[in-house]
Protein backbone atom coordinates (compact mmCIF):
# COMPACT_ATOMS: atom_id res chain seq x y z
CA UNK A 1 0.00 0.00 0.00
CA UNK A 2 1.10 3.50 -0.76
CA UNK A 3 0.32 6.38 1.56
CA UNK A 4 0.30 9.94 0.22
CA UNK A 5 -0.20 13.08 2.30
CA UNK A 6 -0.97 16.11 0.15
CA UNK A 7 -0.56 19.74 1.26
CA UNK A 8 -1.96 19.26 4.72
CA UNK A 9 -2.43 22.43 6.83
CA UNK A 10 -3.89 22.69 10.31
CA UNK A 11 -4.49 25.47 12.84
CA UNK A 12 -5.67 25.28 16.43
CA UNK A 13 -7.61 28.47 17.04
CA UNK A 14 -5.36 31.31 15.91
CA UNK A 15 -2.25 29.16 16.03
CA UNK A 16 -1.13 27.63 12.74
CA UNK A 17 0.62 24.35 13.46
CA UNK A 18 1.12 22.67 10.08
CA UNK A 19 1.64 24.44 6.75
CA UNK A 20 1.15 22.52 3.54
CA UNK A 21 2.87 19.30 4.58
CA UNK A 22 3.26 16.68 1.85
CA UNK A 23 4.91 13.29 2.09
CA UNK A 24 4.73 9.76 0.70
CA UNK A 25 5.30 6.30 2.10
CA UNK A 26 6.00 3.52 -0.40
CA UNK A 27 5.12 -0.11 0.16
CA UNK A 28 7.53 -1.79 2.62
CA UNK A 29 9.38 1.42 3.46
CA UNK A 30 10.33 2.70 6.91
CA UNK A 31 10.14 6.48 6.92
CA UNK A 32 10.81 8.78 9.82
CA UNK A 33 9.55 12.24 10.69
CA UNK A 34 12.12 14.08 12.76
CA UNK A 35 11.25 17.27 14.62
CA UNK A 36 11.55 19.08 17.92
CA UNK A 37 9.02 18.84 20.69
CA UNK A 38 5.75 20.64 20.06
CA UNK A 39 6.41 21.18 16.37
CA UNK A 40 3.23 19.34 15.33
CA UNK A 41 4.33 15.77 14.68
CA UNK A 42 1.52 14.13 16.65
CA UNK A 43 -0.97 16.50 15.08
CA UNK A 44 0.16 15.34 11.65
CA UNK A 45 -0.32 11.71 12.68
CA UNK A 46 -3.77 12.46 14.07
CA UNK A 47 -4.65 13.82 10.66
CA UNK A 48 -3.17 10.88 8.76
CA UNK A 49 -4.96 8.38 10.99
CA UNK A 50 -8.26 10.16 10.34
CA UNK A 51 -8.84 11.25 13.93
CA UNK A 52 -8.56 14.93 13.08
CA UNK A 53 -9.71 16.79 9.98
CA UNK A 54 -7.04 18.96 8.33
CA UNK A 55 -8.01 22.51 7.43
CA UNK A 56 -6.64 21.90 3.95
CA UNK A 57 -5.13 19.00 2.06
CA UNK A 58 -5.92 15.29 1.98
CA UNK A 59 -4.63 11.83 2.81
CA UNK A 60 -4.65 9.13 0.15
CA UNK A 61 -4.24 5.40 0.72
CA UNK A 62 -3.60 3.61 -2.59
CA UNK A 63 -5.35 6.51 -4.27
CA UNK A 64 -8.46 6.35 -2.05
CA UNK A 65 -9.22 9.51 -0.08
CA UNK A 66 -9.20 8.53 3.61
CA UNK A 67 -9.08 12.07 5.07
CA UNK A 68 -11.03 12.09 8.34
CA UNK A 69 -11.86 8.38 8.08
CA UNK A 70 -10.34 6.48 10.99
CA UNK A 71 -9.96 2.70 11.03
CA UNK A 72 -7.93 2.37 7.82
CA UNK A 73 -4.39 2.84 9.08
CA UNK A 74 -2.81 1.26 12.10
CA UNK A 75 -1.75 3.86 14.67
CA UNK A 76 0.42 3.48 17.76
CA UNK A 77 0.01 6.55 19.94
CA UNK A 78 2.78 8.50 21.59
CA UNK A 79 2.19 6.97 25.02
CA UNK A 80 2.37 3.19 24.89
CA UNK A 81 -1.33 3.35 25.78
CA UNK A 82 -1.79 -0.07 27.25
CA UNK A 83 -5.23 -0.06 28.89
CA UNK A 84 -4.37 -0.67 32.55
CA UNK A 85 -7.54 -2.67 33.25
CA UNK A 86 -7.02 -5.27 30.53
CA UNK A 87 -4.51 -8.11 30.56
CA UNK A 88 -1.66 -7.87 28.07
CA UNK A 89 -3.39 -10.46 25.89
CA UNK A 90 -6.66 -8.54 25.84
CA UNK A 91 -4.80 -5.33 25.14
CA UNK A 92 -3.04 -6.86 22.19
CA UNK A 93 -6.17 -8.60 20.89
CA UNK A 94 -8.17 -5.36 21.14
CA UNK A 95 -8.09 -4.43 17.43
CA UNK A 96 -9.32 -7.92 16.52
CA UNK A 97 -12.11 -7.69 19.08
CA UNK A 98 -13.14 -4.26 17.84
CA UNK A 99 -13.06 -5.13 14.17
CA UNK A 100 -16.45 -5.44 12.55
CA UNK A 101 -16.54 -8.95 11.22
CA UNK A 102 -19.44 -10.50 9.43
CA UNK A 103 -20.82 -13.92 10.31
CA UNK A 104 -21.27 -15.45 13.73
CA UNK A 105 -18.88 -13.01 15.45
CA UNK A 106 -21.64 -10.43 15.26
CA UNK A 107 -24.13 -12.56 17.11
CA UNK A 108 -21.81 -14.24 19.60
CA UNK A 109 -19.35 -11.59 20.75
CA UNK A 110 -17.56 -14.00 23.10
CA UNK A 111 -16.70 -16.22 20.14
CA UNK A 112 -15.16 -13.23 18.43
CA UNK A 113 -13.25 -12.47 21.62
CA UNK A 114 -11.99 -16.05 21.88
CA UNK A 115 -10.88 -16.14 18.28
CA UNK A 116 -9.19 -12.76 18.70
CA UNK A 117 -7.30 -13.97 21.76
CA UNK A 118 -6.14 -17.10 20.01
CA UNK A 119 -4.92 -15.15 17.00
CA UNK A 120 -3.09 -12.64 19.18
CA UNK A 121 -1.53 -15.28 21.43
CA UNK A 122 0.13 -16.90 18.42
CA UNK A 123 2.43 -13.86 18.07
CA UNK A 124 3.53 -13.60 21.70
CA UNK A 125 6.53 -15.86 21.20
CA UNK A 126 7.83 -13.88 18.24
CA UNK A 127 7.46 -10.55 20.04
CA UNK A 128 9.25 -11.85 23.13
CA UNK A 129 6.15 -11.66 25.31
CA UNK A 130 5.34 -15.29 26.00
CA UNK A 131 4.43 -15.98 29.61
CA UNK A 132 3.03 -12.47 30.05
CA UNK A 133 -0.40 -13.05 28.49
CA UNK A 134 -2.35 -12.87 31.77
CA UNK A 135 -0.33 -10.10 33.38
CA UNK A 136 -1.52 -6.51 33.60
CA UNK A 137 0.47 -3.77 31.82
CA UNK A 138 1.63 -2.26 35.12
CA UNK A 139 3.54 -5.49 35.79
CA UNK A 140 5.58 -5.17 32.56
CA UNK A 141 8.85 -3.34 31.96
CA UNK A 142 8.89 -0.35 29.62
CA UNK A 143 10.46 -2.33 26.79
CA UNK A 144 7.89 -5.11 27.00
CA UNK A 145 5.00 -2.66 27.02
CA UNK A 146 6.42 -1.10 23.89
CA UNK A 147 6.73 -4.47 22.20
CA UNK A 148 3.16 -5.32 23.15
CA UNK A 149 1.93 -1.98 21.77
CA UNK A 150 3.83 -2.68 18.56
CA UNK A 151 2.26 -6.12 18.30
CA UNK A 152 -1.17 -4.59 18.78
CA UNK A 153 -0.46 -2.09 16.04
CA UNK A 154 0.69 -4.88 13.77
CA UNK A 155 -2.42 -6.97 14.47
CA UNK A 156 -4.68 -4.10 13.50
CA UNK A 157 -3.29 -3.87 10.01
CA UNK A 158 -0.27 -5.56 8.46
CA UNK A 159 -0.05 -2.89 5.81
CA UNK A 160 0.53 0.67 6.94
CA UNK A 161 1.45 1.66 10.48
CA UNK A 162 2.03 5.02 12.15
CA UNK A 163 4.28 4.90 15.21
CA UNK A 164 4.45 8.04 17.35
CA UNK A 165 7.78 8.09 19.20
CA UNK A 166 7.73 4.35 19.77
CA UNK A 167 10.94 4.23 21.78
CA UNK A 168 11.27 7.64 23.39
CA UNK A 169 10.00 6.56 26.82
CA UNK A 170 12.79 3.99 27.16
CA UNK A 171 16.17 4.58 28.72
CA UNK A 172 19.08 4.73 26.26
CA UNK A 173 20.29 1.21 26.91
CA UNK A 174 16.90 -0.48 26.56
CA UNK A 175 16.31 1.73 23.54
CA UNK A 176 19.43 0.36 21.89
CA UNK A 177 18.23 -3.19 22.40
CA UNK A 178 14.80 -2.31 21.08
CA UNK A 179 16.30 -0.82 17.92
CA UNK A 180 18.04 -4.08 17.15
CA UNK A 181 14.95 -6.11 17.91
CA UNK A 182 12.86 -3.79 15.76
CA UNK A 183 15.15 -4.04 12.75
CA UNK A 184 15.10 -7.82 12.97
CA UNK A 185 11.34 -8.10 13.35
CA UNK A 186 10.80 -5.73 10.44
CA UNK A 187 12.74 -8.08 8.22
CA UNK A 188 10.10 -10.67 8.88
CA UNK A 189 6.87 -8.73 8.85
CA UNK A 190 7.52 -6.10 6.15
CA UNK A 191 5.08 -3.49 7.36
CA UNK A 192 5.20 -0.04 5.71
CA UNK A 193 5.91 2.25 8.62
CA UNK A 194 5.88 5.97 9.18
CA UNK A 195 7.35 6.86 12.54
CA UNK A 196 8.02 9.96 14.60
CA UNK A 197 11.09 10.67 16.62
CA UNK A 198 13.09 13.59 17.93
CA UNK A 199 16.17 11.41 18.27
CA UNK A 200 18.55 11.84 15.35
CA UNK A 201 20.44 8.61 16.05
CA UNK A 202 17.23 6.65 16.06
CA UNK A 203 16.09 8.24 12.81
CA UNK A 204 19.32 7.39 11.04
CA UNK A 205 19.53 3.85 12.35
CA UNK A 206 16.00 2.76 11.62
CA UNK A 207 14.70 4.52 8.56
CA UNK A 208 15.03 4.39 4.80
CA UNK A 209 14.09 8.03 4.49
CA UNK A 210 13.87 10.95 6.92
CA UNK A 211 11.58 13.96 6.66
CA UNK A 212 12.67 16.89 8.79
CA UNK A 213 9.71 18.82 10.14
CA UNK A 214 10.43 22.25 11.60
CA UNK A 215 9.51 25.92 11.95
CA UNK A 216 6.33 27.62 13.08
CA UNK A 217 4.08 26.72 11.36
CA UNK A 218 5.86 23.47 10.66
CA UNK A 219 6.89 22.61 7.11
CA UNK A 220 8.95 19.76 5.67
CA UNK A 221 12.43 21.31 5.72
CA UNK A 222 14.35 18.45 4.11
CA UNK A 223 14.10 14.89 2.97
CA UNK A 224 17.13 12.63 3.49
CA UNK A 225 17.50 9.17 2.05
CA UNK A 226 19.56 6.85 4.23
CA UNK A 227 21.17 4.07 2.23
CA UNK A 228 23.69 1.34 2.78
CA UNK A 229 23.13 0.64 6.41
CA UNK A 230 21.97 -2.14 8.74
CA UNK A 231 25.23 -3.79 9.72
CA UNK A 232 23.68 -4.10 13.21
CA UNK A 233 22.50 -0.97 14.89
CA UNK A 234 25.26 -0.43 17.42
CA UNK A 235 28.11 -0.80 14.95
CA UNK A 236 26.40 1.40 12.42
CA UNK A 237 26.07 4.02 15.11
CA UNK A 238 29.84 4.39 15.45
CA UNK A 239 30.58 4.28 11.70
CA UNK A 240 31.70 7.32 9.67
CA UNK A 241 28.63 7.17 7.37
CA UNK A 242 26.47 7.63 10.40
CA UNK A 243 28.38 10.76 11.34
CA UNK A 244 27.86 12.14 7.84
CA UNK A 245 24.12 11.79 8.10
CA UNK A 246 24.20 13.29 11.54
CA UNK A 247 26.07 16.34 10.33
CA UNK A 248 23.54 16.90 7.58
CA UNK A 249 20.65 16.77 9.99
CA UNK A 250 22.41 19.05 12.46
CA UNK A 251 22.26 21.80 9.84
CA UNK A 252 18.56 22.04 10.49
CA UNK A 253 18.57 21.39 14.16
CA UNK A 254 20.87 23.27 16.48
Amino acid sequence: MRLVVENVSKSFGDKKVLESVSLTLEEGEIVCILGASGVGKSTLFHIISGLLMPDEGRVLLDGEDVTGKPGKISYMLQKDMMLPYKTVLDNVALPLIIKKTSGEGKIWPWRRIRTAREKAAAYFEEFGLSGYEKKYPAQLSGGMRQRAALLRTYLFSQEVALLDEPFSALDTITKGKMHQWYLSIMEEIHMSTLFITHDMDEAIILSDRIYILGGTPAVIQDEITVSGKKPGAEEFKISPEFLEYKKRILEYIQ
Binding site: H46, S49, G50, L51, P70, G71, K72, I73, Y75, L77, Q78, K79, M81, L83, P84, Y85, K86, L94, P95, I98, K99, K100, Y136, A138, F156
Partner: protein, 264 residues
Amino acid sequence: MKRKLQSITNALIPASAVILLLIIWQVLCLAGVLPGYMLPSPWQVVQAFVKDFPLMAGHMWTTLFEAFAGLGIGIVMGFVVAFLMQRFHALYRAFYPILVITQTIPTLAIAPLLVLWLGYNTAPKITLVVIMTFFPITVGLLDGFKEADPDAVRLLQAMGASKTQIFFHIMLPSGLGHFFAGLRMSVSYAVVGAVVAEWLGGFSGLGVYMTRVKKSYAYDRMFAVIFLITAISILLMKLVDIVQYFVMPWKRDDRSKTKMEEYK
Protein backbone atom coordinates in the same frame (compact mmCIF):
# COMPACT_ATOMS: atom_id res chain seq x y z
CA MET B 1 5.16 -13.13 58.65
CA LYS B 2 6.39 -9.71 59.64
CA ARG B 3 3.65 -8.09 57.59
CA LYS B 4 0.97 -10.22 59.18
CA LEU B 5 2.16 -9.29 62.64
CA GLN B 6 2.16 -5.65 61.66
CA SER B 7 -1.36 -5.75 60.29
CA ILE B 8 -2.51 -7.26 63.60
CA THR B 9 -0.94 -4.47 65.63
CA ASN B 10 -2.38 -2.00 63.13
CA ALA B 11 -5.84 -3.26 64.05
CA LEU B 12 -5.06 -3.46 67.76
CA ILE B 13 -4.20 0.19 68.25
CA PRO B 14 -7.54 1.68 67.20
CA ALA B 15 -9.36 -1.16 68.91
CA SER B 16 -7.68 -0.38 72.20
CA ALA B 17 -8.41 3.31 71.71
CA VAL B 18 -12.10 2.42 71.36
CA ILE B 19 -11.99 0.19 74.41
CA LEU B 20 -10.35 2.95 76.43
CA LEU B 21 -13.14 5.35 75.47
CA LEU B 22 -15.75 2.77 76.43
CA ILE B 23 -14.12 2.19 79.83
CA ILE B 24 -14.07 5.92 80.54
CA TRP B 25 -17.72 6.15 79.57
CA GLN B 26 -18.62 3.16 81.78
CA VAL B 27 -16.74 4.63 84.73
CA LEU B 28 -18.44 8.00 84.31
CA CYS B 29 -21.82 6.27 84.29
CA LEU B 30 -21.03 4.18 87.34
CA ALA B 31 -19.72 7.23 89.16
CA GLY B 32 -23.05 8.88 88.48
CA VAL B 33 -21.52 11.77 86.57
CA LEU B 34 -23.74 10.89 83.62
CA PRO B 35 -27.32 10.29 84.76
CA GLY B 36 -28.94 7.15 83.36
CA TYR B 37 -31.81 8.96 81.71
CA MET B 38 -29.36 10.93 79.64
CA LEU B 39 -26.86 8.28 78.63
CA PRO B 40 -26.93 4.55 79.31
CA SER B 41 -23.67 2.88 80.25
CA PRO B 42 -21.90 0.72 77.66
CA TRP B 43 -22.65 -2.33 79.76
CA GLN B 44 -26.36 -1.58 79.72
CA VAL B 45 -26.16 -1.17 75.96
CA VAL B 46 -24.44 -4.54 75.58
CA GLN B 47 -27.09 -6.20 77.74
CA ALA B 48 -29.86 -4.57 75.75
CA PHE B 49 -28.19 -5.65 72.52
CA VAL B 50 -27.93 -9.26 73.60
CA LYS B 51 -31.45 -9.41 75.01
CA ASP B 52 -33.12 -7.69 72.08
CA PHE B 53 -31.04 -9.20 69.32
CA PRO B 54 -33.66 -11.68 68.08
CA LEU B 55 -36.23 -8.89 67.89
CA MET B 56 -33.78 -6.52 66.19
CA ALA B 57 -32.76 -9.26 63.74
CA GLY B 58 -36.36 -9.49 62.54
CA HIS B 59 -36.48 -5.75 61.96
CA MET B 60 -33.05 -5.85 60.39
CA TRP B 61 -34.16 -8.05 57.51
CA THR B 62 -36.88 -5.57 56.57
CA THR B 63 -34.40 -2.72 56.57
CA LEU B 64 -31.83 -4.72 54.65
CA PHE B 65 -34.44 -5.70 52.10
CA GLU B 66 -35.42 -2.07 51.57
CA ALA B 67 -31.80 -0.95 51.45
CA PHE B 68 -30.81 -3.62 48.93
CA ALA B 69 -33.89 -3.21 46.77
CA GLY B 70 -33.38 0.57 46.68
CA LEU B 71 -29.66 0.26 46.11
CA GLY B 72 -30.19 -2.32 43.36
CA ILE B 73 -32.68 -0.10 41.55
CA GLY B 74 -30.42 2.90 42.13
CA ILE B 75 -27.42 1.11 40.65
CA VAL B 76 -29.28 -0.18 37.60
CA MET B 77 -30.86 3.22 36.97
CA GLY B 78 -27.53 4.91 37.58
CA PHE B 79 -25.79 2.73 35.00
CA VAL B 80 -28.52 3.16 32.41
CA VAL B 81 -28.78 6.93 32.87
CA ALA B 82 -24.99 7.36 32.93
CA PHE B 83 -24.70 5.28 29.77
CA LEU B 84 -27.35 7.32 27.97
CA MET B 85 -25.90 10.61 29.13
CA GLN B 86 -22.42 9.54 28.05
CA ARG B 87 -23.70 8.31 24.72
CA PHE B 88 -25.86 11.30 23.87
CA HIS B 89 -24.17 14.55 24.62
CA ALA B 90 -27.39 16.58 24.49
CA LEU B 91 -28.82 14.56 27.38
CA TYR B 92 -25.64 15.16 29.32
CA ARG B 93 -25.78 18.88 28.83
CA ALA B 94 -29.46 19.06 29.71
CA PHE B 95 -29.41 16.89 32.80
CA TYR B 96 -25.95 16.85 34.37
CA PRO B 97 -26.39 20.23 36.09
CA ILE B 98 -29.83 19.13 37.30
CA LEU B 99 -28.36 15.90 38.67
CA VAL B 100 -25.77 17.83 40.63
CA ILE B 101 -28.33 20.28 41.98
CA THR B 102 -30.69 17.49 42.97
CA GLN B 103 -28.03 16.18 45.31
CA THR B 104 -28.25 19.36 47.35
CA ILE B 105 -31.99 19.01 47.99
CA PRO B 106 -32.56 17.90 51.56
CA THR B 107 -33.94 14.48 50.70
CA LEU B 108 -35.19 13.94 54.21
CA ALA B 109 -37.49 16.91 53.89
CA ILE B 110 -39.42 15.23 51.12
CA ALA B 111 -39.62 11.87 52.92
CA PRO B 112 -42.98 12.69 54.51
CA LEU B 113 -44.34 13.55 51.06
CA LEU B 114 -43.14 10.20 49.73
CA VAL B 115 -45.10 8.39 52.41
CA LEU B 116 -48.14 10.48 51.58
CA TRP B 117 -47.85 9.70 47.88
CA LEU B 118 -46.80 6.07 48.01
CA GLY B 119 -48.38 4.71 51.15
CA TYR B 120 -46.87 3.04 54.15
CA ASN B 121 -45.52 -0.14 52.61
CA THR B 122 -41.96 -0.63 51.51
CA ALA B 123 -42.53 1.50 48.40
CA PRO B 124 -41.74 4.94 49.89
CA LYS B 125 -38.74 3.53 51.75
CA ILE B 126 -37.30 1.94 48.66
CA THR B 127 -38.01 5.14 46.73
CA LEU B 128 -36.16 7.22 49.29
CA VAL B 129 -33.19 4.85 49.13
CA VAL B 130 -33.28 5.01 45.33
CA ILE B 131 -33.28 8.82 45.44
CA MET B 132 -30.45 8.87 47.97
CA THR B 133 -28.27 6.38 46.07
CA PHE B 134 -29.11 6.96 42.42
CA PHE B 135 -27.62 10.45 42.28
CA PRO B 136 -24.22 9.76 43.83
CA ILE B 137 -23.82 6.63 41.71
CA THR B 138 -24.77 8.39 38.49
CA VAL B 139 -22.63 11.44 39.18
CA GLY B 140 -19.80 9.12 40.26
CA LEU B 141 -20.01 7.14 37.05
CA LEU B 142 -20.16 10.26 34.90
CA ASP B 143 -17.18 11.76 36.71
CA GLY B 144 -15.43 8.42 36.27
CA PHE B 145 -16.07 8.50 32.54
CA LYS B 146 -14.41 11.89 32.43
CA GLU B 147 -11.29 10.29 33.91
CA ALA B 148 -11.02 8.13 30.80
CA ASP B 149 -7.73 8.83 29.07
CA PRO B 150 -8.52 10.81 25.91
CA ASP B 151 -5.61 9.05 24.23
CA ALA B 152 -7.22 5.69 24.97
CA VAL B 153 -10.36 7.00 23.30
CA ARG B 154 -8.29 8.14 20.32
CA LEU B 155 -6.65 4.74 20.14
CA LEU B 156 -10.02 3.06 19.77
CA GLN B 157 -11.27 5.72 17.38
CA ALA B 158 -8.22 5.10 15.24
CA MET B 159 -9.16 1.41 15.22
CA GLY B 160 -12.55 2.44 13.88
CA ALA B 161 -14.44 1.47 17.05
CA SER B 162 -18.07 2.55 17.44
CA LYS B 163 -19.19 4.82 20.28
CA THR B 164 -20.75 1.87 22.06
CA GLN B 165 -17.51 -0.09 21.80
CA ILE B 166 -15.59 2.90 23.17
CA PHE B 167 -18.05 3.02 26.03
CA PHE B 168 -17.59 -0.60 27.00
CA HIS B 169 -13.87 -0.85 26.39
CA ILE B 170 -12.77 2.53 27.80
CA MET B 171 -15.40 4.55 29.61
CA LEU B 172 -16.87 1.81 31.74
CA PRO B 173 -13.62 0.35 33.11
CA SER B 174 -12.24 3.88 33.65
CA GLY B 175 -15.37 4.80 35.59
CA LEU B 176 -15.28 1.76 37.86
CA GLY B 177 -12.92 3.29 40.41
CA HIS B 178 -15.22 6.26 40.90
CA PHE B 179 -18.22 3.97 40.81
CA PHE B 180 -16.93 1.89 43.69
CA ALA B 181 -16.07 5.00 45.68
CA GLY B 182 -19.64 6.18 45.10
CA LEU B 183 -20.98 2.73 45.95
CA ARG B 184 -19.08 2.64 49.23
CA MET B 185 -20.84 5.88 50.22
CA SER B 186 -24.14 4.66 48.84
CA VAL B 187 -24.40 1.45 50.84
CA SER B 188 -24.16 3.47 54.01
CA TYR B 189 -26.66 6.04 52.68
CA ALA B 190 -28.93 3.17 51.70
CA VAL B 191 -29.09 1.77 55.21
CA VAL B 192 -29.46 5.15 56.88
CA GLY B 193 -32.01 6.20 54.25
CA ALA B 194 -34.12 3.12 54.86
CA VAL B 195 -33.99 3.71 58.61
CA VAL B 196 -34.99 7.34 58.30
CA ALA B 197 -37.84 6.41 55.96
CA GLU B 198 -39.01 3.88 58.52
CA TRP B 199 -39.10 6.58 61.17
CA LEU B 200 -41.97 7.92 59.15
CA GLY B 201 -44.03 4.81 59.58
CA GLY B 202 -44.37 1.18 58.66
CA PHE B 203 -44.82 -2.31 59.99
CA SER B 204 -41.26 -3.23 60.79
CA GLY B 205 -37.67 -2.27 60.24
CA LEU B 206 -34.90 -0.88 62.38
CA GLY B 207 -36.35 2.63 62.02
CA VAL B 208 -39.69 1.45 63.37
CA TYR B 209 -37.88 -0.29 66.20
CA MET B 210 -35.97 2.89 66.92
CA THR B 211 -39.03 5.11 67.21
CA ARG B 212 -40.76 2.59 69.44
CA VAL B 213 -37.91 2.16 71.90
CA LYS B 214 -37.36 5.91 71.92
CA LYS B 215 -41.02 6.48 72.71
CA SER B 216 -40.80 4.12 75.65
CA TYR B 217 -37.66 5.83 76.96
CA ALA B 218 -35.44 2.79 76.40
CA TYR B 219 -32.21 4.58 75.54
CA ASP B 220 -30.07 1.52 76.11
CA ARG B 221 -31.94 -0.24 73.32
CA MET B 222 -31.71 2.94 71.26
CA PHE B 223 -27.92 2.88 71.49
CA ALA B 224 -27.90 -0.84 70.79
CA VAL B 225 -29.77 -0.28 67.52
CA ILE B 226 -27.53 2.63 66.52
CA PHE B 227 -24.62 0.30 67.11
CA LEU B 228 -26.26 -2.38 64.97
CA ILE B 229 -26.87 0.08 62.13
CA THR B 230 -23.26 1.22 62.26
CA ALA B 231 -22.05 -2.38 62.21
CA ILE B 232 -24.24 -3.14 59.20
CA SER B 233 -22.90 -0.09 57.35
CA ILE B 234 -19.32 -1.11 58.02
CA LEU B 235 -19.91 -4.70 56.95
CA LEU B 236 -21.56 -3.58 53.74
CA MET B 237 -18.70 -1.21 52.99
CA LYS B 238 -16.23 -4.07 53.49
CA LEU B 239 -18.37 -6.13 51.15
CA VAL B 240 -18.02 -3.41 48.51
CA ASP B 241 -14.25 -3.56 48.96
CA ILE B 242 -14.31 -7.32 48.42
CA VAL B 243 -16.46 -7.00 45.31
CA GLN B 244 -14.12 -4.32 44.01
CA TYR B 245 -11.17 -6.62 44.63
CA PHE B 246 -12.67 -9.19 42.29
CA VAL B 247 -14.10 -6.81 39.72
CA MET B 248 -10.95 -4.72 39.37
CA PRO B 249 -8.12 -7.28 39.50
CA TRP B 250 -5.65 -4.83 37.98
CA LYS B 251 -5.85 -2.64 41.07
CA ARG B 252 -4.80 -5.38 43.45
CA ASP B 253 -1.19 -4.59 44.14
CA ASP B 254 -0.75 -0.88 44.12
CA ARG B 255 2.90 -1.01 45.05
CA SER B 256 3.44 2.74 44.83
CA LYS B 257 1.55 3.25 48.08
CA THR B 258 3.99 1.25 50.15
CA LYS B 259 7.07 2.70 48.57
CA MET B 260 7.56 5.35 51.23
CA GLU B 261 7.73 2.86 54.05
CA GLU B 262 11.52 2.43 53.98
CA TYR B 263 12.00 6.15 54.39
CA LYS B 264 9.90 6.76 57.47
